[in-house]
């Protein structure tokens, strides 16, 4: 298949899956806003699980099934992609500013246009209302969903469905001329460009609205049914089935690798490398993203800074290929066989994600509660008389430790979770590890990807459990310790 055909095929798949995903996103986002505060983290957890679950394991679990028929493989790819992009859409919708035109306003405009169908002014006003209303709110979610679907790599590779990403890997391995590769990369870049520009435009807008301000018509019952069905089905197909598949061979796998000390040592070594690289990239991307989103008012300098998000939105595969070529060809060549290209690609790739997470945290954070907790812990110096009174009033009967714990929960915990999430994404990125890891510093992810082509399930189960379980266990442990420390 030529690159052009592969690109069109991927684009068709992207459009189809986004069309199916969009109503789901709307329904789920409405439902999530109705969920009580206590249950909301759980709801987000269930929603995000299929997106955060390692894609390699999902692809591998369904690989045997996909091999039985190319049509089935395409169907599986579509279904699994759907489970991955819906959370992206919901989170983006949830973080998007409320519409500037309410549904009542749109309806009124519609009535006016309907009453005077020949009036161009009324038509224009109606479409302006639509633009400032649902379209402007929907675009970022649809844009990001489309980017995630279009850039899909591991799933398409393991399920053996046509994809432009697969074409590039094959071309790179065949030693296609770099110039030719760069020319060919125009295809996927051009196809993604409108989406990337839209997403950048969206991040440049002010985000000062809270989710409570949304104005929407009441949801019919069918939306609740759709939401419930999705929230049951997605974690089962996207997480539990792959976990079950791994568990089937886990005991024999652990027994096997326990007897192979060198293999275990090799995996540990590769895990340490992957952790070091991802922490470095994740923390740096987070720090950079803070400077990109620090001011609510957009300055010209910040507008220029936000163009740095462009390459990251092109996806890690294209970035890795381009960076590899750059470090091999230019004055940067002495740095080619170092971890630098790998880390740079991960930072650039993570940057838009970090900005998105920042925006989401900002749009969902309880600013009043945070302010009060800062007053209580004595860290913020009240500048007004009202502030001093508030602080005095609030601190009556509350020990300082509890105030610090409250501040941690409201301010630091979301940030730590965000950094952990960025590191986790870096840890799971196959393209950069596959193309840019220097000699002697392979990531365990590439080892697993290798095994997945051999069908060696028992050893793979054990190694995958160790590789993917390690960061989750480590992060949980750190959070647990932190919580215990704050309780004292």
């Amino acid at each position: 298949m030529s690159l052009a055909s592969a690109c069109w095929w991927t684009l068709a798949r992207t459009i189809l899956v986004c069309m199916v995903a969009w109503p789901l996103c709307v329904a789920i986002e409405r439902w999530i806003r109705r969920v009580s505060d206590g249950w909301r983290p759980f709801a987000f957890g269930v929603l995000l699980a299929p997106f955060l679950f390692p894609e390699l394991l999902v692809g591998y679990s369904y690989r045997s099934l996909a091999l039985s028929s190319p049509r089935l493989a395409e169907g599986l790819c579509l279904g699994l992609l759907l489970f991955r992009i819906v959370p992206v859409g919901v989170i983006t919708l949830n973080a998007s500013p409320s519409t500037l035109a309410s549904f009542s306003a749109i309806h009124c405009r519609w009535l006016l246009w309907h009453a005077n169908p020949r009036s161009l002014r009324e038509a224009r006003q109606f479409f302006l209302c639509l633009w400032h209303g649902p379209i402007r709110r929907a675009f970022p979610a649809l844009g990001l969903m489309s980017l995630v679907a279009f850039q899909e790599f591991e799933l398409a590779a393991l399920l053996q469905t046509a994809s432009w990403t697969d074409w590039f890997i094959a071309a790179q391995r065949l030693g296609l001329d770099r110039r030719e590769m760069l020319i060919q990369s125009a295809w996927p870049v051009l196809m993604q460009l409108p989406l990337i520009a839209g997403v950048i435009y969206w991040t440049a807008r002010e985000h000062d609205s809270s989710s409570e301000q949304h104005d929407e018509p009441a949801s019919p019952n069918i939306f609740d049914w759709i939401t419930t069905s999705y929230l049951v089905l997605a974690p089962i197909c996207g997480c539990l089935i792959p976990v079950g598949f791994l568990s089937m061979h886990l005991v024999s796998g652990i027994t096997l690798i326990a007897t192979q000390r060198s293999q275990l040592m090799g995996l540990t070594h590769e895990m340490i490398i992957a952790v070091a690289i991802s922490v470095c990239a994740g923390v740096t991307a987070w720090s950079l993203s803070r400077s990109l989103t620090s001011n609510r008012k957009l300055t010209p300098r910040q507008t220029i800074q936000r163009t740095f998000l462009l390459p990251g939105l092109a996806g890690s595969l294209l970035l890795s290929l381009a960076t590899g070529a750059l470090f091999q060809q230019s004055w940067l060549r002495p740095l080619y066989d170092t971890p630098l290209p790998w880390v740079v690609v991960l930072i650039v790739w993570l940057l838009p994600r970090a900005v998105l997470v920042q925006i989401w945290i900002r749009s969902t954070s309880q600013t009043e509660g945070l302010h009060l907790s800062e007053l209580l812990s004595g860290n913020a110096v009240p500048s007004t008389r009202i502030g001093i009174e508030e602080a005095n009033e609030a601190s009556v009967g509350l020990p300082a430790g509890r105030a610090t714990a409250l501040r941690f929960r409201l301010r630091d915990q979301p940030r730590l979770l965000a950094i952990a999430l960025l590191c986790y994404w870096a840890y799971l990125d196959l393209s950069s590890a596959y193309l840019l890891a220097p000699s002697g510093m392979p990531s365990g992810l590439v080892r697993l990807y290798n095994f997945m082509h051999f069908g060696r399930t028992s050893a793979l189960s054990a190694e995958a459990t160790l590789f993917f379980g390690f960061p989750i266990t480590a992060a949980s442990f750190v959070f647990l310790i932190q919580r215990l420390r704050l309780r004292r």
């Binding site: 030693g175 880390v343 510093m441 080892r447 069908g455 060696r456």
Partner: protein, 362 residues
């Protein structure tokens, strides 16, 4: 004040992480500090089989080996192109290739170091480079894998399948690995036009193309296809798992497409496709002595026996004690006697690959 602490920490944490990373890399870097005896090996052989041999080498010699593997789907060609790309600043010391023609290509491009060591001396002429730029060892063969629940493992049944039901036959995309060698042999024997016609006909009639030889084994084992073209080591994985498969060697001739010895008594002789692993030292290596030791070790009788006894059942090419061979490898040794000499097929490989690129990438 809290803000200044926050700002400081946002700079400090990445700096510390970068320093840790740099330290880790410097520690791993070959030739750094006390760790001067470290070799960088690019290995196209299946990781699950190669790892043990390289570990044994490290244990015996004290030389640490850092290995870069490639995936099942793109291996050998991916690493060969990487070596070519890195020619001005090579980082690989020794290349363990899982086929032979890539090594001939690297020799032609002047990327290999000459070394006629003990291992080179013990190998038959057809499995080593005459000038000592590479040496072959531990081969595998191209075979048909047949699901015995769906078809009988006979040449007649395979011929019928390929003629009338090619959608029930699987093969890997011939762009990479041993399938590329298979196609190169056919190009050499039949000529380009005939191979192109055969290939297009099979694709038109729905032959199942998958992303690697392991996937061929999988689709045949799970009865999606009845037969496929793959390598002996993949078939043994299925046999060891108790799956209902058998194998037959692929036999090729310049006269007939498929094996029909009875039909072709007077025609050109049939050959099997026996593809050795090869090892070569990369030109410009700074660890020549250690590289030579590894080249000698890989093509030694000891490593060949170890690979023959491994799950991949590689066929020893040098002289070894036949008693040490497993029974199923003895059968392979017999088939490999008819193996075609691959050393002269470089130009066929180049032409075939150029055509395949246009077929799959354009």
């Amino acid at each position: 004040m809290a803000d200044s602490v926050k700002n400081r920490s946002t700079v400090l944490i990445p700096v510390v992480a970068a320093l840790v990373l740099a330290g880790l890399w410097l520690n791993i870097l070959p030739g750094s500090g006390s760790d001067a005896k470290t070799l960088i090996v690019y290995c196209a052989h299946d990781r699950i089989f190669a790892e043990q041999v390289l570990d044994d080498f490290s244990r015996e010699t004290g030389i640490r080996v850092q290995v870069r593997y490639d995936t099942e789907a793109t291996k050998s060609l991916g690493l060969i192109n990487l070596i070519i790309q890195e020619r001005s600043q090579p980082r690989c010391d020794v290349f363990w290739n899982n086929e032979l023609l890539g090594m001939v290509e690297l020799k032609q491009q002047g990327l290999l170091e000459r070394y006629q060591g003990q291992s080179w001396q013990r190998m038959p002429e057809r499995y080593r480079d005459a000038d000592g730029y590479w040496v072959g060892f531990a081969a595998r063969m191209r075979v048909y894998i047949v699901n015995t629940h769906q078809a009988s493992a006979t040449e007649e049944a395979l011929g019928t399948l390929l003629s009338f039901e090619p959608s029930r036959v699987a093969m890997a995309k011939p762009l990479f690995g041993t399938t590329l060698t298979h196609y190169t042999v056919l190009w050499h024997l039949w000529g380009g036009d005939r191979l192109k016609a055969w290939h297009r006909d099979l694709r038109l009639r729905g032959i199942r193309e998958v992303d690697g030889n392991a996937a061929v084994k999988d689709v045949v084992a799970q009865e999606t296809c009845y037969a496929g073209m793959t390598d002996t080591d993949d078939v043994f994985v299925a046999i060891d798992d108790g799956l209902p498969v058998e194998m037959l060697p692929v036999r090729v001739t310049s006269d007939l497409t498929e094996r029909r010895p009875s039909d072709a008594a007077n025609a050109a002789p049939f050959s099997t496709i026996c593809i050795p692993n090869t090892v070569g030292i990369i030109k410009g290596t700074k660890r020549q002595e250690a590289a030579q030791l590894l080249a000698d070790y890989l093509a030694s009788a000891k490593a060949e026996i170890a690979l023959a006894k491994s799950k991949s059942r590689q066929i020893p090419l040098g002289l070894i004690d036949a008693k040490e061979l497993p029974e199923d490898v003895k059968q392979l040794v017999e088939w490999s006697q008819d193996g075609i000499d691959l050393r002269l097929l470089l130009s066929a490989r180049r032409d075939c690959l150029e055509w395949l690129k246009t077929e799959y990438l354009k």
